[in-house]
């Protein structure tokens, strides 16, 4: 022990010599004061190197976090229990600190460094996994990807040295597929458990089983809100630890009467607060980009109308699809008074519910809560995913009001009556598992060997019909046989981190001699950035129409698209911009020309999938050149990531000896084969155009509309679609033209007319089947 200590001291001296002399006393003092605490040695136990000065600086800040007050208590509870639940409000430091405490505890318990073990900490969001792991690597004074790493879909930033891994909950689930008992981990931390993502919920059930079989594994469930009792009940009385957040009291106000228009009411409240309440920033919760941009403009205008009797305001929008540079604006300070001694300025952040949990803005004293948020709900009966405005839950309302008390006592204005709060709001938001399509989840569970889905220990079991739909899809795709057992095909499909339809399309693509192309299309579709709704970009651009010429427009557009590639939609976008008169007329010809060019270059009249393929090919042909991307409105980063996804998929294909092949580009069958291969995966997502000119989904006969971002130059009789969403209308998005003849050839088992509702599509199919029968007979006769 003595020699050890000495060695550390000498190392400290080395550091000291290289550092600036002036900092020496300060460093010395800081160190001396904290000396008795664990984790204050001079050598980093993970790297064997001396700690940097920055390490100690951060350490001081870390120790001020509320969670450090309970470090010993936490370690004690962890030691004595297999499962524990930790509840702490945002700002307690649990996400960054608890995994490090755990690491310390495990390190003490298993001092043998040759034995490989890891600690996992899950995050619901990719961005959080990346950013938190970076922060923790910095706090631990190690390089990211070494001792501390992260793993998200299509991106693994960890190594053999990694001991602490932040990963998305979905990734941990995928790891369980190859390592069913998760033997590489000693402790698993499920963070943000209150968000109840689909993957977290599945992990709950799974880990409960794993814990029974692995007494040495420990589980820490971290949550922010009131559902702790529910967790405790589910995890059979695991001890509950509470870490206080830094919350000040928040006074809550309700309206006397229900509001006629919540947007108007919100703006009115902002103005009232600005006129009557003492200093402090305002946070307004609204539902979507359009509404938020609208509100920002109205607020600025209304307060502008009040003259210089009141202070200036800065209304800042915040929503997830806003470019990151714009998002940074929420952290800017409130504007200064117009003139010296005048009334002070105020910052007003108008946000979707991303400011509810995932993003913290300091300085907010007033919260305005109209009580609504956009919610995604999948309905298995009509197989639609809706993204509509709905009332929030009591838990959400509570979370929102808490945002007012981060820096000082605050006020929350709920734009509904207290009676409504008690009677009209449900206690909790439905967890994702009750609102999602479970086809992929069921395939994963099957692969994990869970055959009894009916009695699986879900915290909130999904509706039977949601599972029925999932089983139906998997059966028709051939991933499950009629007994419900996983087939060989299903095994392979489960290895792709994609929707089953897409995995199926990939697996069968060699049979259609076009696996290279299908790989590219899948990669392009898998980045969520590609499917982003064009309405948003259009709106964003139209709202920032202060510029008057083409080149300025282009700059803004590229800025707007920084994180999203919308090459597919640019043709539509430009056309619409021209026709809606947002352009100065002088720019018309140039814009029109550019639009036509873009269409000529990438647009494929037979479908959006093929357009995506064209964009990818063009990108590769231009040697992935960033300036080429800029010229063509294509987001370089997005395409680079699609290319990365493609490489990962190629690796999976290789593992199962799936041939990589292409039809000759000059062959007439080049695109036909691709379209046929897509149909082999997406035959359940087909819409038929009726004589009246509108589309009905097959079997469900839902009226749907082609999403305006499509690239088609005609209205095909049959289309396959990537998704069917209910937003402002019933839309099918990312569509491609297919032929009825292919349907009867490729998917007769689904298009079994005995089980088909009466409709126009059925009569067409009947004719096609008869035609096929006749052809076959003719062939037989000829022989």
């Amino acid at each position: 022990m003595g020699t050890e200590r000495k060695r550390k001291l000498s190392l400290f001296d080395v550091v000291d010599e290289t550092s600036v002399p002036g900092t020496k006393p300060k460093l010395n003092g800081g160190f001396g004061g904290a000396a008795p605490m664990a984790g204050n040695s001079l050598v980093n136990t993970w790297t064997g190197k001396a700690y940097s000065q920055r390490y100690f600086e951060i350490l001081e800040k870390r120790k001020a976090l509320p969670v450090w007050q309970q470090k010993d208590e936490f370690l004690q509870v962890l030691k004595n229990n297999q499962t524990l639940i930790l509840v702490g409000e945002t700002g307690s430091g649990k996400t960054t600190q608890i995994p490090q405490f755990v690491l310390e505890a495990v390190d003490n318990e298993y001092p043998d460094k040759r034995r490989k073990w890891m600690v996992a900490c899950t995050q619901p969001r990719r961005v959080a996994a990346m950013s938190v792991s970076r922060r923790v690597a910095e706090e631990m004074d190690v390089a990211i990807g070494e001792e501390v790493g992260y793993s998200i879909r299509f991106e693994d930033c960890s190594s053999a040295r990694t001991v602490l891994k932040y990963l998305t909950d979905g990734m941990l689930l995928r790891e369980a597929m190859t390592d069913p008992l998760l033997e590489r981990y000693k402790v698993i931390i499920l963070d943000e458990a209150h968000e109840r993502t689909l993957a977290t919920d599945v992990l709950f059930g799974l880990l409960k089983e794993v814990l029974k079989n692995r007494p040495d594994l420990k589980l820490v469930v971290m949550s922010a809100t009131l559902e702790a009792e529910k967790f405790q009940g589910y995890f059979l009385g695991a001890p509950l630890m509470k870490v206080p957040g830094r919350l000040h009291p928040v006074e809550i106000f309700y309206t006397q009467e229900p509001e006629r228009d919540y947007l108007e009411a919100a703006i009115r409240t902002v103005v009232q607060i600005h006129m009557c309440e003492p200093l402090g920033d305002i946070l307004v919760f609204l539902t979507g980009e359009e509404e938020i941009e609208d509100a920002c403009r109205k607020i600025t205008k209304e307060i502008g109308n009040l003259g210089d009797q009141v202070g200036p305001v800065k209304a800042v929008p915040l929503y997830s699809t806003l470019p990151p540079a714009m998002q940074q604006k929420i952290f800017e300070p409130a504007p200064p008074p117009l003139n010296e001694g005048g009334p002070a300025g105020r910052k007003i952040v108008v946000s979707t519910n991303i400011a509810e949990t995932s993003l913290t803005i300091d300085g907010i004293v007033y919260v305005i809560d109209p009580g609504f948020a956009k919610q995604k709900v999948y309905n298995p009966r009509v197989r639609v995913e809706s993204l509509l405005v709905s009332p929030i839950s009591k838990a959400s309302a509570h979370q929102r009001s808490g945002r007012a008390g981060r820096t000082q006592p605050g006020k929350c204005f709920r734009l509904y009556t207290e009676k409504s709060f008690n009677n009209d709001l449900q206690p909790q938001t439905y967890p994702e598992i009750l609102r999602s399509n479970l086809a992929n989840t069921v395939l994963t569970l099957k692969k994990l060997g869970i055959d009894d889905l009916v009695h699986f220990d879900f915290m909130d079991p999904p509706a039977p019909e949601t599972l029925m739909r999932a089983l139906e899809v998997l059966n028709y795709l051939g991933a499950l046989d009629d007994e419900g057992n996983l087939t060989k095909l299903g095994e392979i499909m489960s290895e792709f981190p994609l929707d089953p339809q897409m995995s199926k399309m990939l697996v069968v693509s060699p049979e259609f001699n076009c696996s290279n192309e299908i790989l590219s299309i899948s990669a392009m579709l898998s980045g969520c950035f590609i499917c982003m709704p064009i309405e948003h970009v259009h709106r964003w651009v139209s709202l920032h129409m202060m510029f008057s010429n083409w080149s300025m427009y282009k700059q803004v557009l590229v800025h707007a698209l920084r994180d999203e590639i919308v090459a597919v939609s640019q043709y539509y976008l430009m056309k619409q911009m021209v026709s809606s008169g947002l352009y100065a007329s002088a720019d018309l010809p140039e814009a029109q020309k550019a639009a036509d060019e873009a269409k000529a270059r990438f647009g494929h009249i037979d479908g959006d999938h093929l357009t995506l393929l064209n964009v990818y090919h063009a990108y590769k042909q231009n040697n992935e050149d960033p300036s080429w991307c800029y010229e063509n409105f294509i987001n370089h980063r997005a395409l680079k990531s699609a290319d990365n996804v493609r490489q990962q998929l190629v690796r999976i294909m290789a593992r199962f000896n799936l041939k990589l092949c292409s039809t000759d580009f000059n062959s007439r069958d080049y695109y036909i084969n691709i379209r046929k291969a897509m149909l082999a995966g997406y035959f359940m997502q087909v819409a038929h155009m009726e004589r009246t000119g509108h589309y009905l989904t097959v079997k469900d006969n839902q009226v749907v509309h082609l999403h305006p971002s499509n690239c088609l130059d005609h209205k095909p009789e049959w289309v396959i679609y990537n998704e069917y969403v209910l937003t402002s209308r019933n839309f099918i998005r990312t569509v491609t033209d297919i032929r009825g003849e292919w349907i009867v050839d490729i998917a007769p088992h689904y298009y079994d007319l005995e089980n088909f509702p009466q409709c126009e599509a059925k009569r067409v199919l009947e004719r096609l089947y008869k035609k096929r029968e006749k052809e076959r007979e003719e062939n037989r006769n000829r022989k």
Partner: protein, 263 residues
């Protein structure tokens, strides 16, 4: 099926509109040119109103036209939403392969999933809000429909009550009149039986009627009964039999009752 066909046409129309919207400089052309005439009566109306526009007012009229289109689109969306909601009412049939597969896993139809079967029996429903009405306040459109329905119901009920009221009032009026008539008759019979002179000259009939009306409130069923009983008791006479009996016994044996209804 008929309902479906109707929707199809309306949607087809909308699709066309959307193409216009996306497509071109239709705004700068006259709307009739870009919008071929459609069977809908609303369309022809808008066409007419646009046809009369002068070039000066073009801009204002154009806005109207856009507004009109927006409204129409909203209406169609409501129709579509209703259709979607109606479809979400129908559960997945037992013949579905997914249903069979879940049953094979041990699912009992009608029950819920989970270790203790504590899950939801039904999927989370869709709620389509297309307005900015606050919490605790219904969608103004739905509210309007509901209000109209309630009003119609109220009106219907009122009318029914009114009819019933009217019927019963008529009936009681008739009854009252009968009472008066019978009273008069009974009075005349009594006078005759008591050998008084009949003082009812034909001439004064009108007068009498007026009197009757005035008296109507005074002459009640009790008065009638009183006089009838007097006739019966004192003169063994029944007004409704129109007969003076020999004896009280004969009266009781032959007359069906004191009331007119008994006869």
């Amino acid at each position: 099926m008929a309902e479906f066909a109707k929707n199809q046409t309306t949607n087809g129309e909308q699709e066309d509109e959307e193409d216009d919207y996306m497509g071109d400089l239709s705004q700068f052309l006259s709307p009739e040119a870009s919008n071929p005439p459609k069977p809908s009566s609303k369309k022809t109306l808008s066409g007419k109103s646009l046809a009369v526009q002068s070039s000066k007012k073009k801009k204002a009229k154009f806005l109207n036209w856009q507004e009109h289109r927006k409204q129409e689109r909203e209406l169609k969306q409501i129709e579509e939403d209703e259709q979607t909601l109606a479809k979400t009412e129908a559960p997945i049939p037992q013949s579905n392969i997914g249903f069979k597969l879940l049953k094979r896993m041990g699912y009992t139809p009608g029950s819920a999933l989970g270790k203790e079967g504590s899950g939801r029996a039904e999927p989370v429903g869709l709620e389509i809000r297309r307005s900015r009405a606050g919490i605790g306040r219904e969608d103004p459109r739905k509210e309007k429909i509901r209000r109209e329905e309630a009003e119609a119901e109220m009106k219907r009920r009122n009318e029914k009550a009114l009819m019933e009221d009217f019927g019963s009032r008529q009936k009681s009026q008739w009854r009252n009149r009968r009472v008066v008539v019978n009273f008069e008759k009974a009075k005349a019979a009594l006078d005759q039986l008591e050998n008084r002179e009949v003082l009812v000259p034909k001439k004064s009939e009108d007068e009498e009627e007026v009197e009757e009306e005035e008296e109507e409130e005074e002459i009640t069923a009790e008065d009638l009964l009183e006089i009838l009983m007097k006739l019966r008791d004192e003169h063994r006479y029944c007004l409704f039999c129109g007969f003076q009996y020999e004896s009280m016994e004969a009266l009781l044996a032959n007359c069906p009752g004191t009331d007119e209804d008994d006869h």
